[in-house]
């Protein structure tokens, strides 16, 4: 006779906990936590700013870039400055 092993937690609960764990990830802005990084947001530093552009050359929203409102504003201002100097594209390559 084999005894049925009772699960301590139901599968549904495990799933639910996993989901909750994901949501608890801290949403700290990377520029707020590291003041040194703020200085690298500059219109001359186009290699750094390229990381905040999509493939088509659009500015990434703060939802994706993870920056707070204050630093997102700095980023977008510097990107627009950089575009004037032809360091960054206004629009990406056509398909």
């Amino acid at each position: 006779m084999t005894k049925k092993i009772k699960l301590k937690i139901s599968a549904r609960l495990v799933k639910k906990r996993g989901r909750r764990g994901n949501g608890n990830r801290s949403k700290m802005c990377r520029f707020c936590s590291d003041k040194e990084q703020v200085h690298s947001i500059n219109y001359k530093n186009s290699t750094f700013l390229k990381g905040f552009l999509t493939e088509r050359g659009k500015i990434l929203p703060s939802r994706i870039s993870g920056a707070c409102a204050r630093h997102q504003r700095v980023i977008s201002q510097e990107i627009r400055k950089s575009r004037v100097m032809a360091l960054l594209p206004y629009s990406g390559p056509a398909f």
Binding site: S40, N42, N45
Partner: protein, 145 residues
């Protein structure tokens, strides 16, 4: 009040040494006329631009830093100088105030002159290939025949 400024200039790709010297002296003269002084003038090098400016896909960048007590007059003078007199050399310019809190060091993208260049022969030697085909591919073809 003494203020520090920074001017990034985008010059035409076929700029000569004499023209560079002329550009530097003219800007330096304008700064000195307003009882200021130039901190640095450096050449970044040749770059591939993100989009075509004046029908050329390349450009040479210059970065100039200066300080002046009479900022309004000098900036206006410089803008007219760059846009009228040096129009055939300078394509784009951007003059901005330097934040006193910010360090003067900066990162800049790597120019075309600094980028490593590899010879075609060296590439084929490293990958043990002859011509455009890999050595293994040639063997497979001969077996089928």
């Amino acid at each position: 009040m003494l203020r520090q400024y920074e001017a990034l200039l985008l010059a035409v790709p076929e700029i000569t040494g004499d023209e560079t010297k002329n550009l530097e002296t003219q800007l330096d003269k304008a700064v000195k006329a307003s009882s200021g002084s130039t901190i640095s003038f450096e050449r970044w090098g040749k770059y591939k631009l993100a989009y075509e400016v004046n029908k050329s896909g390349y450009g040479v960048f210059f970065l100039m830093r200066f300080e002046t007590p009479q900022s309004t007059q000098l900036i206006n003078d410089m803008k007219t100088l760059l846009k009228v007199k040096l129009n055939n050399v300078v394509m784009r310019d951007m003059i901005s105030v330097l934040d006193p809190k910010q360090p003067l060091t900066y990162q800049r993208p790597r120019s075309l002159e600094e980028a490593p260049t590899r010879e075609a022969e060296g590439f084929s030697r490293d990958n043990k290939t002859t011509g455009f085909f890999a050595a293994d591919d040639i063997d497979v073809d001969s077996d089928e025949e």
